[in-house]
C-alpha cells in the first residue's frame, strides 16, 4: 500500500525532494528550466486533486479544467477589472470555485461511473464555452491581458525565478496536506468509498458527503493552480482550460500512479518534460513520439511510473542484499 510507506521514509523523501527543488534553480538550471518546473508545479497541484478523487475515492472527473479555469479567470477578473489585491483575489477564487463545486457536487455525484464521466465532461465543455462567450467579463477568445504579479510587502514575484519558489511553495503545501489527508480517518473513509460504497455506509461513512468533499478539495487545488497560472503568465484566454487539459490531467494522474499523492509529481513532470523538452528533438514528429511513449509506458508500467520505480528499487535492494549476504 503506497499510502502506508512508513513515516521515516516518506519524510526522508520529502527532504530529498526539497533539497533537489532548492538546488535546481541555482545550479545549471538557473533560468533554463524554471519555467518548465513552474508548470510542473502548477499541473501537479491539479493532478493531486484528481489523484485524491480518482485514485483514492474512485470517482472519475473529466472536467478538472473547469476549476482550473475558474481559478485563473476569477483571479484575472478580480485583480484586473476590480482592482482586488491578488492574494485576496486568489482566496476569493478558491472559495468561489470550491463553493461552485459544492453546489454542483450533490447532483453530479448522484451519478456513477460512466454517467459521472459524462457529467464532468459536460461541465468542462460548458465552462469552456462560458469562458469564451461571456466576453463582457472574460474578454472573449482573446482573454484578459496585464494581470498583475503576486507580491509580499515590497517583494514582487515578477521573474520566473521568483515565481518558481512561489509555485513550489504552494505545490508542496498541497502535497503535504494531501498526504496528511490520505493517512487520516478521512483518507480511510475515501478509500472505503472506493472499496465498497455499501460497506462504507455500513460503517457510518457518509458516502455522498465524502465524495462531494473530495471533489471540492480537488476543485480548490485546481483553482489555486489556476490563480498561480494567471499571475505567472499575466494573461488568460479560454484555450488552456478546455477538454484537452482535463484529459491531460487524467494522463498525468495515471502515468504518475493514481493511488499515490507523490506520483502526481512524476506524472506531471513526465508529460511536461516530454512535450517541452525531449520531444522538441523530434521536430514535427513530436506528437507521434509522444503517443508512442504514452502507449509504451502504460503497456510496460501499467500502474504508473511511481510504482514502477518503487518496485524496481525494491527489486534492486533485494538482489543487493542477497549478494551482500552471500559475500
Amino acid at each position: 500500500m503506497l499510502s502506508r510507506v512508513r513515516g521515516k521514509w516518506s519524510y526522508l523523501a520529502i527532504a530529498a525532494l526539497l533539497l533537489f527543488l532548492i538546488i535546481i534553480p541555482f545550479k545549471w538550471f538557473l533560468g533554463q528550466y524554471t519555467v518548465i518546473l513552474i508548470f510542473i508545479g502548477i499541473h501537479t497541484m491539479v493532478t493531486v486533486g484528481l489523484c485524491l478523487l480518482m485514485g483514492y475515492t474512485g470517482q472519475i472527473s473529466l472536467g478538472q479544467a473547469a476549476f482550473y479555469g475558474l481559478g485563473a479567470y476569477f483571479s484575472a477578473v478580480l485583480t484586473k477589472t476590480h482592482g482586488f489585491n491578488p492574494w485576496l483575489a486568489m482566496l476569493v477564487a478558491a472559495l468561489a470555485t470550491g463553493g461552485f463545486a459544492y453546489a454542483i457536487g450533490f447532483p453530479i455525484f448522484r451519478l456513477r461511473g460512466n454517467y459521472l464521466a459524462l457529467a464532468t465532461l459536460g461541465l468542462g465543455i460548458i465552462m469552456a464555452v462560458l469562458f469564451r462567450e461571456l466576453d463582457q467579463f472574460t474578454g472573449g477568445p482573446t482573454g484578459i491581458t496585464g494581470i498583475p504579479y503576486l507580491s509580499i510587502g515590497g517583494f514582487t514575484f515578477d521573474s520566473p525565478f521568483r515565481r518558481y519558489f512561489l509555485v513550489w511553495f504552494f505545490c508542496l503545501a498541497v502535497l503535504l496536506v494531501s498526504q496528511n489527508i490520505v493517512r487520516s480517518r478521512t483518507g480511510r473513509a475515501l478509500r472505503a468509498v472506493h472499496g465498497s460504497e455499501s460497506a462504507a455506509e455500513s460503517v457510518g461513512i457518509n458516502v455522498a458527503q465524502f465524495k462531494v468533499k473530495v471533489f471540492v478539495l480537488s476543485a480548490v487545488y485546481a483553482s489555486l493552480a489556476g490563480s498561480l497560472y494567471a499571475h505567472h503568465i499575466t494573461y488568460v484566454n479560454p484555450s488552456p482550460f478546455g477538454f484537452l487539459f482535463s484529459v491531460m490531467v487524467v494522463v498525468m494522474a495515471v502515468v504518475g500512479g493514481l493511488a499515490s499523492v507523490w506520483g502526481a509529481i512524476f506524472g506531471a513532470a513526465t508529460v511536461r518534460i516530454l512535450s517541452d523538452e525531449i520531444l522538441l528533438r523530434f521536430g514535427e514528429w513530436d506528437v507521434i513520439v509522444y503517443g508512442l511513449i504514452l502507449v509504451l509506458v502504460m503497456v510496460f508500467m501499467p500502474r504508473g511510473l511511481f510504482v514502477a520505480l518503487k518496485e524496481a528499487y525494491e527489486r534492486w535492494r533485494l538482489t543487493h542484499r542477497q549478494r551482500g549476504a552471500e559475500a
Partner: protein, 256 residues
C-alpha cells in the same frame, strides 16, 4: 432483559409488483442472539437492508432504541449503533487488514478534513485511539497477526472474521450478521459460534441470518422464521423446529 432494542411494526417492502417483505412485526430483545431463518427468497436479507436503511420501507415503522428510524440514511444508523456484515463480505480491498478495522471506527471518531490536513494534535490523539481500538477488535476475532496483510489476501474464513471485526469497531449496540457461516468449514463454524458468544458477552445484541441449522441451534436464543416475506413463526430454537408451518415451508427446500 430490558425489552426490545429493535422493533418493526407492519414493515413492508415492495419492489414493483414483488412484495419482498410483507407486514413483518419483530422485536429483537436486547442482549440476545437472535437468528432469522427461512428458505431462499424469504426476505431475510431484505429485512436487514430495511433495518440498515439501504432501502426505504414501503410502509410500516422501524424503531431502534425507541427512536423511529424513518428515512434515516445508513451511515446515521451506523452512528446510532447498528452494524452489519454482508453475504458477499465486501471488505475494502484497497486497504490492509488493520485499516479495514480502523475504518470501522469512523463513527466513533470526530476529526475531519481540516484537522487531518494540518495534522492538528486532535487528529494524532484520535488516530492513536483508533489504532489501539482496531488492534483490540482484531485480536478479539483472532486476526492480530495479520494486521499488515492486504485484506483480500486472507482466505475466505478469515475475511469473514475481519468483516465482523470491522463491524464491531463501529461499537454497535446491534450487530447484524448476514450468513456469517456460509462457505466456512466445520472448524471455522465452531470458532464463529464461539466468537458470537463472546460478542454477546460484550453486551451486543446480535441478529444473524443463517442457513446452517446446527450453528443456529447452537447459539441462537430466539429464532424468527420468514417465508415469502412473511413472519411465519418465532420462538426458541426447539419451539420453532416443531412448528408445522416451518416444516411445511422447508419441505422440498434443502435442509442442511
Amino acid at each position: 432483559m430490558s425489552g426490545p432494542i429493535l422493533e418493526t411494526r407492519g414493515v413492508t417492502k415492495a419492489f414493483g409488483g414483488l412484495v419482498a417483505v410483507d407486514n413483518v412485526d419483530v422485536g429483537i430483545e436486547a442482549g440476545r442472539v437472535t437468528a432469522v431463518i427461512g428458505p431462499n427468497g424469504a426476505g431475510k436479507t431484505t429485512l436487514f437492508n430495511l433495518i440498515t436503511g439501504v432501502y426505504p420501507v414501503s410502509s410500516g415503522e422501524i424503531r431502534f432504541d425507541g427512536v423511529p428510524l424513518d428515512n434515516m440514511p445508513t451511515h446515521k444508523r451506523a452512528a446510532l449503533g447498528i452494524a452489519r456484515t454482508f453475504q458477499n463480505v465486501l471488505l475494502f480491498g484497497n486497504m490492509t487488514v488493520l485499516e479495514n478495522v480502523m475504518s470501522g471506527q469512523h463513527p466513533r471518531s470526530r476529526y475531519g478534513f481540516l484537522e487531518a490536513a494540518l495534522r492538528l494534535p486532535k487528529s494524532r490523539r484520535e488516530e492513536e485511539t483508533i489504532t489501539l481500538n482496531a488492534i483490540k477488535y482484531l485480536n478479539l476475532v483472532g486476526l492480530g497477526l495479520y494486521a499488515q496483510r492486504d485484506a483480500l489476501s486472507l482466505p475466505l474464513g478469515q475475511q469473514k472474521l475481519l468483516a465482523i471485526a470491522r463491524a464491531l469497531a463501529t461499537e454497535p449496540k446491534l450487530l447484524l450478521l448476514d450468513e456469517p457461516g456460509a462457505g466456512l468449514n466445520r472448524l471455522e463454524k465452531q470458532e464463529l459460534g464461539d466468537l458470537i458468544r463472546r460478542i454477546r458477552e460484550m453486551g451486543i445484541t446480535t441478529v444473524l441470518v443463517e442457513h446452517d441449522m446446527d450453528l443456529v441451534m447452537g447459539i441462537a436464543e430466539w429464532v424468527i422464521v420468514l417465508d415469502s416475506g412473511r413472519k411465519i413463526a418465532e420462538g426458541t430454537a426447539s419451539q420453532v423446529q416443531r412448528d408445522k408451518r416451518v416444516i411445511a415451508a422447508y419441505l422440498g427446500e434443502e435442509v442442511e
